[in-house]
Symmetry: D2
């Protein structure tokens, strides 16, 4: 029987959507108990919110440093810490927790620079701790179905992968100075990229996750629809992958009418797949020269990885919370196995790792360099 592990979170305060999704996702499969948190930049507000969510007063911390000190000395300390703070702080906080023996799930982007990302990978390895990065869309059962189908050779060799994350969420010029939007276009807070690192990176992780390939080089165009912005709100990237796949990415915050807009299309020698995050419970699969199939989440015949990731029976909808829950279940399985020195369920290894996080950072920096150099083809490393 599974024993529940204590879990804590830094960031994700009241009103934060990502905070809710982490709390709900970590709890859904009863692997983790929400035991500690430093939820807000305002210490008092953070403590109060944590307490209101059922956290013991003693473990409702004012900031991450206090949490680290408080938890590391406890026998029942949290085993996994989720870092859901502003991007510029991911590196420092994740590093500190890892070095103190905590497992970490870090929100994306994992770090601001490639150097930090490499260091974090090394830190996790030295500490012998799990460091996951929350590419939460990879938790969707049908995304895992795509990965399994590609790995099983159902599509043959992959020729082309087309990834999009394009919606209208940054399109309102009247809202451009809203601090909630504006920081994404401020290089000091956002780094080298806005919509590409905020959205495109998710689509690119999915392209890598599903194909099992890594990006080797890119030709990127960063553009501005709202010209006052310092960073791009629309970008396209042509890329190549180490397994030979040709890639196309479109990321945009200007695409009015696309509510969310994350999609993935994968085309191999003998089949194609198409998935849209907005209808996550259906996957289109077309064998060469045959009609397209609508694959329903949870239906008979799906891959073990996909069925394991399901929570309710076929025909019922699942969503973001269940996708996050699958990441947490993977982490739980892997941490449990590590504690007893066992091999984890191989299907649990689908969670996004620090190495994936590093690849994303290398990628986004290569894209930014290419964009600066007239879309010149740019190697990742």
């Amino acid at each position: 029987m599974m024993k529940t592990m204590n879990w804590g979170i830094v960031g994700g305060g009241e009103g934060s959507q990502i905070g809710f999704a982490h709390r709900a996702g970590s709890a859904l499969d009863r692997k983790f108990k929400f035991a500690a948190g430093a939820l807000d930049v305002d210490p008092a507000r953070g403590r109060e919110f944590a307490i209101s969510l059922g956290v013991d007063r003693a473990r409702a911390y004012g900031d991450w440093w206090e949490m680290l000190q408080g938890e590391r000395s406890r026998d029942d300390r949290v085993e996994l810490v989720t870092v859901a703070t502003p991007n510029v702080t991911h590196f420092e906080i994740s590093k500190a927790f890892l070095e103190n023996g905590f497992h970490v799930l870090c929100e994306k982007p994992m770090t601001m620079t490639v150097e930090e990302a490499r260091e974090l990978v090394a830190v996790a390895k030295r500490a012998n701790r799990v460091c996951g990065v929350n590419y939460g869309y990879s938790g969707y059962p049908l995304v895992r179905q795509m990965k399994a189908m590609v790995a099983d050779g159902v599509l043959g060799k992959i020729r082309v992968v087309v990834a999009e994350f394009a919606g209208g969420f940054m399109a309102d010029a009247a809202d451009a100075d809203n601090p909630r939007v504006r920081w994404r276009f401020d290089p000091k807070q956002a780094g080298v990229s806005a919509v590409s690192v905020d959205c495109g990176i998710h689509a690119m992780h999915m392209a890598c996750f599903v194909t099992g390939q890594k990006v080797t080089k890119v030709s990127s165009d960063f553009a501005h629809g709202i010209t006052s912005r310092e960073l791009e709100d629309d970008s396209s990237t042509a890329f190549r992958m180490d397994g030979g796949a040709i890639g196309r990415l479109w990321a945009s915050g200007l695409a009015i009418g696309r509510t969310h807009g994350l999609t993935l299309q994968v085309f191999g020698e003998v089949g194609g797949l198409s998935w849209k995050q907005e209808q996550p419970n259906q996957l289109l699969y077309t064998p060469l020269n045959e009609p397209t199939r609508i694959i329903e989440r949870g239906s008979a015949g799906l891959s073990p990885a996909s069925l394991r990731a399901g929570h309710v029976t076929v025909g019922h909808a699942e969503g973001m919370v269940e996708a996050f829950a699958n990441i947490y279940r993977d982490l739980g399985d892997v941490i449990e196995a590590a504690k007893v020195g066992a091999q984890p369920n191989p299907l649990a290894l689908d969670y996004p790792t620090a190495e994936d996080g590093l690849h994303s950072i290398e990628l986004i920096h290569a894209m930014a360099r290419s964009a600066k150099n007239g879309s010149q083809w740019t190697d990742l490393i």
Copy 2:
């Protein structure tokens, strides 16, 4: 600040999908803590499963009677009990818990007979306890949006409502003798109806919920696609409602290709609505002589009832767990208010009540009578 209440469940054992949905739904908004349960007809298996889910050994009961005895004497007794047992036992168990001062959420159908249903309504009233019936689809945010739009007169007077719950889940003749399927067609276990009470009743609750009207009379056709069955696997019903709406219902287990198949269409004098459970995060709304609008769950401008029912931001998917969670949140709000003698949030009154459960039972019996009498129009009461 909200205080978590203790919650228990009868039924919903290992492998039961509805059990997971209740546990997950009750927990999502942290209103309820899973504190007690009698989860299985096999006492040992039920206890073991409850303990594995984190229930204290002392409150992992062997059967509902034991649970009732164990809980009613505790200071920290469960306040809400969910009854998710076989249909023929709903009445007895719900009645017993209500009479002992517990609030109850009963799975549908609430009872087997109209008399039982009336008695349960009376019992709940006498006991001054909440008795909800789990028409879980009414928890979907966009179903509540439909109800709000109708109530606000956006469609004008409702002319026609078309409800369907038709899928292929009973279509496999090779599977017809599987006990999981067969009991639904055995009058001793299923009563007067199979697919109509199993599925149609959900669609009809939704028709009533959204229009705010009750059914007054029906003309039903119960038919058999798999002729060995004693009860219907496909039915259609014409009906009239007390607010003047014309109604059409189609319920079927034979509709291969419709995975789940619950849909609702509502047409008023100046607008129409269409919603499908399989894509629950979109609602089609058409004003007279104007283009159809695709309303996204969580988008700006939706009704307070709909926005209150949302959990993640627009563009992200929600599903069955979140819908169940909304029923539990309603019940939590209503119970809390009752405890302090306050009026609950009016939006919390959207949960399906024992009166709704009674109406469903009256309806299903009228449908069965009409079907037996050559589809003759039959009054509900």
Copy 3:
């Protein structure tokens, strides 16, 4: 090599959509040349319009009687006459042309009464002339694909057929007195039914066409959403077919948001089909326990009947004109074969016949009787 035949039309004057569709459909495959017409109740207007369309002045007639006289004596007389006049005149005009040796394609409904319909069938037989009825939707390639799949046993024995023709075209109360709408609800012009005969009859023909079965009995509900109307604007019908199929029909003019609303779903023992007129180039096919297939018009592996009915390559859209053209091509093939005493291409026999027209009239009258008698089950004959 095919020789073009002369063709004429009665009705379908300027501004008439059906007139355009007949002219375009008859011309598309170059089987027929538009050679004569009596296009309008206003003789001058009709002549002028015919001439403007390239008809010789001598054959631009003032009314159908004049056309009959003018054409029957010509060597190059029209071989096929389309009757697209108000419903109450269909019988008289079709009968006259048939008796004078013309082949006829009559718009639906073929006649107002069952007696007339029977007589017309007899007249055509005596005259040894083709009499088709324009259930034009049966010309869509994927409707023919459905028929072929059912005939080939792909679905197994048909259990349930669900036909709908429900749109918002009669929903605007402000438009209810518009003569274009009003006549449909006037028993003197429309007969026993409004939306059922206007729309439902198309859906029912399609149900019969695709299943190869005829309706034996019905239980109908005729209802009024706009209460000032004398005839129904919303109806539902349960029915049984002579091959054992269970049927459900919904016809409505009140369904705001459904632009056109003709759909057909067919469910057999081992498969299901679903088609919507508004997306006529895709057909959903689901084998039992397998994913749904999206069958594209014109794709490899479709039935000969379906491929024969296609005009452009897969991926390009076809529509109403091509569907009508297929009816005309069938009629052309059958008439040609008859002229030389040969057997026509068996695939050409898919066109809707006078017998089909008769069945529709029997059906609509049985529906009207059932509706009057409290939805009592009513035999067709």
Copy 4:
């Protein structure tokens, strides 16, 4: 009253889909009569086919030169000649007919080189004849609706346009040596590009047509999924337009599961549009911060340009034939007006011109140059 003009075609022989579409499209609105043709590279086969289609024996020509000689001396000579021959012959044939006073509709690509394209524009001007290029998709009513909405400022300034023409039509490696496929990848027959000039060029014309802008510079990636090919079967292009729009194009023949795959998305400051050729009768329009509207072809309130382009009433499907017909109607109107020295209906000026054809050729050559130069940004001129 409109007088029918004589029309002829070079190419489009038996079995050619484009031939049927031109014959059907030119005939649909009765503006043109099919009077002459040189339909096949095999003179006898071409004559025979023309005669079988009703062309007079004397005007069923063996080749285009014979047709030019035969027609130019006739009083009733064809006024418009469609050139639907292999790409490498477009220039010579179109030039010859224009110089002899015929109006021409040339299939795309108009020429193989920029120089030829410029010359053809000059030739048409000198000859004072209409030279259209068959970007047939621009004939779809809802494509014209998009153009009208952009021109009317409904979307505000256009920020981003995303054009795709990506399907699985070149994906079958087993079919790669089929001559029907292979010539497209042979530089001698196809020129500098395969899928980009075959498909992408359509999408790019549509991007220009709808936005009213021209492309100024491109960064292209030409790639090979089937590596034996000399020319690209998958390409992506970032571009900029003279009105400030940012552009993205994806063209592919490898996209298994996308049957046809032509789509256009346009995003402005205050609205977005999305259209897919496979569902051409619906257009998605989203005003900023409002729900998406589904605009139906033919519905009330559409632009005059869109309504003029419709043939059947709302809810009925139109397709490729009707789209081609709209190009022919435009040409007919323009030629008629020219003949009498009048201004044509301004709405008729929507047809794609030789200048558009030239722009396409400049574009495709710039794309090919950019692709050769490591995706370097390349000016069109």
